[in-house]
């Protein structure tokens, strides 16, 4: 079941629905009654959020663009998935291969330049031994769009992969990342932040499969929902038999800023090895009313006080971004999304 296949084959039966356990909170079949027409060729309206930071840019508009990116040495690449046509559907597929010892930053943006589209972005990333990749995914879908991003990351021993997803949701949206983790000193960071308002829906799903000794995974996902928004976090870390020495940590923390907003969280650690260190934590709550009063007593208006506390809450995720320029873009993204609240 997947959206890409549904778009390619124009077969609605391929859509994931609430009957699929992994999709029960992000039902697509119930949302898509007719498949929109295929997207025509299109043109991106802007240079994208990372234009100033990258030394190479790959742009995919309405599913059309280069399908292979080969990385060697040190590179900062902007990868843009642009949806430029209203009410149409497209699926993209990009493969990224990193050579041994390569060291790259992937600044990925999903840009909704039109309304009501249906978009699927499929990405496969192969990271060779000793190579390092930091992936920042900034998802700015249109409010009434449906978008799915599915990345499969294959990590070699001694390689490292660090990811930060930033999303504000869409009509239905899912950002899914699957990592094949070989252990052998390889490390994974799987972070995310969501700030979702209106009637938007944002889903961050991750799966990390540890299949080998001595691997680490560190995950921090934080977010805030307001109005009638809904956030979904599904984090699964699997430690296969024999993957001793694995160190896996997962933390998800959410703020709910309205009675009608919702967060569905499913943190899962499936451990089949004996000698491992694993921990997970999941908290969902509201802003501290005492702290809010304290800030307001100093003269700071309530909306600003809430934004101040929420910014500080999300900052923990932003601060873990390694690339300084991307960290600044992320901080500005947080500020912009709290200002419009």
């Amino acid at each position: 079941m997947n959206l890409a296949r549904a778009i390619e084959t124009r077969d609605l039966a391929q859509l994931p629905s609430r009957r699929d356990e992994d999709w029960r909170w992000t039902d697509l079949a119930g949302q898509i009654r007719d498949l929109p027409p295929a997207s025509p060729q299109g043109v991106a309206k802007s240079a994208g959020p990372f234009a100033a930071l990258a030394n190479e840019t790959v742009t995919i508009v309405n599913g059309r663009g280069p399908g292979l990116i080969e990385i060697s040495g040190k590179q900062i690449i902007a990868l843009r998935f642009v949806s430029a046509s209203e009410g149409t559907a497209h699926a993209s597929k990009v493969a990224i291969t990193m050579g041994e010892g390569a060291d790259a930053v992937l600044l990925e943006s999903h840009e909704g330049d039109a309304a009501g589209y249906l978009a699927h972005a499929g990405l496969s990333i192969d990271i060779a031994p000793g190579a390092k990749l930091e992936r920042i995914v900034l998802v700015s879908d249109a409010e009434d769009a449906i978008g799915v991003s599915l990345a499969q990351v294959n990590l070699a021993p001694g390689a490292s992969f660090a990811q930060t997803v930033l999303t504000a949701g869409a009509r239905r949206q899912r950002i899914e990342t699957r990592v094949a983790h070989p252990g052998g000193g390889a490390s994974v960071r799987m972070d995310g932040a969501y700030l979702i308002g209106g009637r938007r829906h944002g889903d961050i799903t991750t799966v990390v499969d540890h299949n080998g000794r001595d691997g680490t995974t560190d995950q921090l996902v934080k977010g805030m929902v307001r109005d009638q928004a809904r956030a979904v976090f599904q984090g699964r870390i699997v430690v296969a038999r024999g993957s001793d020495g694995t160190d896996a940590r997962m933390r998800h923390q959410a703020l709910i800023a309205s009675d009608r907003a919702e967060v569905d969280a499913k943190p899962e650690l499936l451990i089949f090895a004996d000698d491992v260190q694993c921990a997970h934590g999941n908290t969902i709550g509201a802003l501290d009313e005492q702290a809010l009063f304290y800030i307001r007593q100093r003269g700071i208006p309530e909306a600003e006080a809430r934004a101040m506390l929420t910014t500080a809450f999300i900052a923990e995720v932003v601060d873990r971004i390694g690339h300084v320029g991307a960290r600044d873009v992320a901080a500005a993204w947080v500020a912009a999304h709290l200002e419009s609240a």
Partner: protein, 246 residues
């Protein structure tokens, strides 16, 4: 300056203030003393507008402005400041960022221009030095990991930066050693002026040795039951609150 008349208030449905009447004229420092549970902290929260502290009758005005109809930030903009008994930790917000946001919000609410960064930093450095606060501490998240004494000093620093017209100090002496108490008292005394007034809430007479109040009031069961000059504080220290308690 501050005028409270026949104030009744409840917390969680329980009557805490029972007809409290108090006038603190400009230029004066008044102390409120009283046994635990008398309503001292409730008074400070009712005046500053904390949620859950419900006024059922009575009035409270600052320079003629009805405080009770205003949001907490609007009261602050009118010049009302509370030094908290238990200052909150604000993770992720550096003390300097917080102070600047507060100062500029108040300036803006009063229709003034915001203070530019260099002028703000100069002011913060000067005030921190006066209060013997290491300036680097202001780069850390506000109150996070600060000791009890450091938090109280940060309260007085905020007071010095915001220069409020009316300050309430709620048990600011608790948790302070004698050196810190002197520094805090010096900071407090530096703010005394003919156009300002202050209310010092305390359980013990100790702080009043350093902050000479003009008047001392005894609060018991939600109302002022005795008032006098500074000597009243000494009497209370000697005889205790028993004669005023239930």
């Amino acid at each position: 300056m501050l005028s409270i008349h026949d104030l009744h208030a409840t917390v969680g449905g329980k009557q805490i203030l029972n007809g409290l009447t108090l006038d603190v004229p400009a230029g004066e420092v008044h102390a409120i003393m009283g046994p635990n549970g008398a309503g001292k902290s409730t008074l400070s929260y009712v005046l500053t507008g904390r949620d859950g502290y419900d006024v059922t009758s009575g009035t409270a005005t600052l320079n003629g402005d009805d405080l009770l109809s205003l949001a907490p930030e609007e009261r602050a903009a009118k010049g009302l400041f509370l030094s908290f008994q238990y200052p909150l930790e604000i993770p992720g917000v550096p003390a300097l960022t917080f102070l600047r946001a507060a100062l500029n919000a108040q300036l803006k609410a009063r229709g003034g221009a915001e203070l530019a960064a260099p002028a703000f930093l100069k002011l913060a450095k000067a005030k921190a030095a006066e209060l013997k606060i290491d300036f680097d501490m202001l780069k850390r998240p506000l109150n996070v990991g600060f000791s009890g004494g450091e938090k109280k000093r940060m309260e007085i620093l905020q007071m010095a930066m915001l220069s409020p017209r009316f300050s309430i100090l709620d048990e600011t002496d608790s948790g302070l050693d004698i050196d810190a108490l002197k520094i805090v008292a010096d900071g407090f005394n530096a703010l005394r002026a003919s156009d300002r007034a202050m209310l010092v809430i305390t359980h013990y007479q100790r702080l009043l040795d350093y902050i000479q109040p003009d008047r001392v009031h005894v609060l018991s069961r939600g109302r002022i039951v005795a008032s006098g000059g500074p000597e009243l504080a000494h009497e209370l220290e000697a005889s205790g609150y028993d004669r005023y308690a239930a």
